[in-house]
């Protein structure tokens, strides 16, 4: 590992992403402003046409960016370097994480093509914010120092705050945006305070140096302050991944936000924030005194998260809320792998594997909801899904695949992910924790399977209305891509395990 101040080859992906953002902004800025009139068919205002164009621009641009990330990532995979005076890690397996996040964004854009049309949302703003958030996420996972971690985390979150509230005249969206904004600001405050404590006690902002000096610290005033600092950093990040005492925003925000945004938020933000948690906490050495403390903290909070998320999800009637609680529970599983603090690299590998698999399966579940949306009616509750299999067998099959995977049943990627997590727990001799987590994933089976039962075996209460025909093609592409990932990686997990290991190596 060596340091270079700047080499464009290592940053070409990010540069192209920024270029895409700038180009899209300028395109949007120099188009004739239109006025959107409500209560009129949206076609008459030209909004539909512009939304379609925007989706094309964003989709194709993002695919080009993904190709650039892949080509340059592959070309620089031989080296592991640190760029820009300890700001970013680059090279090595880092491109895998970035590609996973971009993949999530591409799936979200494909769904949004339909969503922005049915909901009459100005699409270009929407895609710009999505791309900004993506830029924040890809910077966040590569961040080498706390300053960049904070900036990238804000870069990732601020556009999401706006995206959540982008649906105008929707009180629900406004409510969730305000909730998310206020609590997000609060958690950023915690993160900053923690960072300043760590900087004060160790005199460095670089994650590696901070952790290094923590490993040799003795318990005195500065150890106390660094422990508080680390705990505050943990709180700030735990908010983003919604571990339990910091989860309260999750169901409301997931319910109020547009479905593709919810999907993106639940996978990309979670994965990026987990990558940072792993970077900071997984490299705390075993002989330091912090190790056992944080092992305990992760065990406690993650177990609480698994128990809470799975039990509250049981009683949800709204599928989006149910998926929100399930996403809380999944954050718990990912956090559990950190508890043993054993075979660090494999722990990280297991969590990253789970995170990448979770992108595919959660995107699939939310994608089906986007597919079933009507202009005037969301498809959100279990009632809306009743008997949907007869009219839309394809969508129901996709949903069934997603539910199988989320529940952790064999032919899907969720199963392999859970097995990885439990292997970590067993190797760390945490048998009781493993048993409790396993019990609650059996509880989770009920509400996941319930969705399938409702779709296939219940009679619809009212006639199922036809869905809008707006841009169903892109949604189908995203659904089939996600389903493909879920099934193929579930049956043949070894390539993904290899990728996750490559990425994991970059976090140390």
């Amino acid at each position: 590992m060596n340091e270079i101040f700047f080499d464009p080859n290592f940053m070409m992906g990010e540069i192209s992403l920024v270029a895409l953002i700038v180009i899209l902004t300028i395109i949007e800025a120099f188009r004739r402003p239109i006025f959107v009139l409500l209560n009129t068919p949206s076609n008459s205002t030209g909004l539909d046409r512009r939304n379609k164009q925007a989706s094309w621009f964003a989709g194709i641009g993002l695919i080009i960016v993904a190709v650039i990330f892949y080509v340059f990532g592959k070309a620089t995979a031989g080296e592991h370097i640190i760029l820009l005076n300890n700001s970013l890690t680059a090279g090595g397996g880092m491109y895998i994480g970035k590609l996973a996040l971009i993949g999530a964004a591409i799936l979200a854009v494909l769904m949004s093509a339909r969503y922005t049309l049915t909901q009459s949302i100005p699409a270009m703003d929407y895609y710009l914010l999505l791309l900004f958030s993506l830029l924040g996420a890809v910077t966040l996972i590569a961040a080498e120092n706390f300053l960049i971690i904070f900036l990238a985390l804000e870069m990732m979150s601020i556009p999401i705050y706006a995206l959540v509230g982008l649906k105008k005249f929707s009180t629900r969206a406004g409510e969730s945006a305000i909730k998310y904004l206020l609590l997000g600001g609060f958690s950023s405050g915690f993160l900053l305070l923690g960072i300043s404590f760590l900087y004060g006690t160790t005199g460095s902002l670089i994650v590696k140096d901070v952790i290094q000096s923590l490993n040799f610290i003795v318990f005195d005033a500065s150890a106390f302050l660094s422990a508080i600092g680390l705990i505050f950093v943990f709180i700030g990040l735990a908010f983003k991944v919604s571990l339990v005492p910091f989860h309260a925003w999750t169901p409301d925000v997931y319910e109020g936000a547009g479905t593709p945004i919810t999907a993106f938020m639940s996978v990309a933000v979670k994965l990026a924030a987990f990558a940072v948690i792993l970077k900071i906490f997984a490299s705390i050495d075993t002989f330091g005194e912090f190790d056992s403390v944080f092992s305990l903290i992760f065990m406690f909070f993650s177990l609480l998260t698994v128990i809470y998320g799975n039990s509250v999800a049981l009683v949800q009637q709204n599928v989006k809320r149910m998926l929100a609680y399930s996403s809380i529970a999944h954050a718990g599983y990912m956090g559990l792998a950190l508890a043993p603090m054993h075979h660090k690299i494999h722990t990280v590998q297991a969590v990253l594997f789970y995170g990448i698999g979770y992108i595919a399966m959660n995107m699939l579940a939310f994608g089906v909801l986007v597919y079933l949306t009507r202009k005037e009616k969301y498809c959100e509750t279990l009632n809306d899904l009743k008997g949907i299999a007869r009219k839309y067998p394809g969508a129901a099959a996709m949903m069934a695949i997603a539910m199988f995977s989320l529940a952790g049943l064999p032919p899907a990627v969720g199963f392999v992910g859970k097995v990885q997590i439990f292997i970590q727990l067993l190797e760390g001799h945490m048998y009781i924790t493993a048993v409790i987590a396993l019990l609650f994933s059996l509880v989770a089976l009920y509400f996941y399977i319930n969705v399938i039962v409702v779709m296939y075996m219940r009679e619809p209460e009212t006639e199922i209305t036809n869905i809008d025909k707006h841009s169903v093609g892109p949604v189908w592409i995203s659904l089939s891509l996600a389903a493909l990932f879920v099934l193929v990686l579930g049956i043949l997990p070894s390539p993904l395990l290899k990728w996750a290991l490559k990425w994991a190596e970059m976090l140390f």
Binding site: P122, L129, L151, M155, L166
Partner: protein, 183 residues
């Protein structure tokens, strides 16, 4: 007592007093003034701790821009009904308990540490002593130089962050929309 140290305590007390005014004042504009006093006192503390650039930024950003924003919003929102505020007063005890708990923990811990080694803070505070600080430390020039060389990426990243924030603000306001839908 050294003049610097004296002023440090004066500013510290002012900051805490400002914070208390912010918290307990019934009138929003008085709260805002309390916040302003607190921020300015913090700027004074930064200046004494040789962080001149931070002191300047504190005054310009917080006492300047953010205070303008806050007072502007107070003008626009103008919450007068006290019933509205009373609803939140009920939650005061929860925050109070949390605050007392944190304070107890901190004071207990500090007491322990200080009774074990009384010179802990002398060693820490030696690094902020003006006499031992390196020449030009914390001045605006070395700060600027550092920002534009060592922390260059952060500097450029902030510009994209501001870009993102501007786009977010404009898109969430959605000036293109006309008319209102009843929901």
């Amino acid at each position: 007592m050294d003049f610097n140290v004296l002023m440090f305590y004066v500013f510290g007390v002012t900051a805490i007093a400002g914070g208390l005014v912010l918290f307990f004042a019934k009138h929003p504009i008085r709260s805002a003034m309390g916040l302003l006093a607190s921020m300015l006192a913090l700027a004074g503390m930064y200046a004494i701790l040789q962080a001149h650039a931070i002191a300047v930024f504190q005054v310009i950003i917080y006492a300047g821009a953010i205070m303008v924003l806050i007072i502007y919003f107070i003008m626009l929102l103008d919450i007068q009904s006290e019933e509205y505020l009373r609803k939140y007063n009920k939650l005061l005890w929860a925050g109070g308990i949390f605050l007392v708990a944190i304070l107890t923990l901190f004071i207990y811990k500090l007491y322990n540490i200080l009774s074990a080694s009384p010179d802990t803070f002398t060693t820490i505070s030696r690094s902020i002593d003006p006499a031992t600080a390196p020449e030009e430390f914390g001045g605006i020039k070395p700060f600027s130089k550092g920002l534009l060389t060592n922390y260059l990426f952060a500097f450029e990243f902030v510009s994209t962050l501001l870009f993102a924030a501007i786009v977010a603000v404009i898109s969430i306001v959605q000036l293109d929309w006309k008319g209102r839908k009843n929901e």
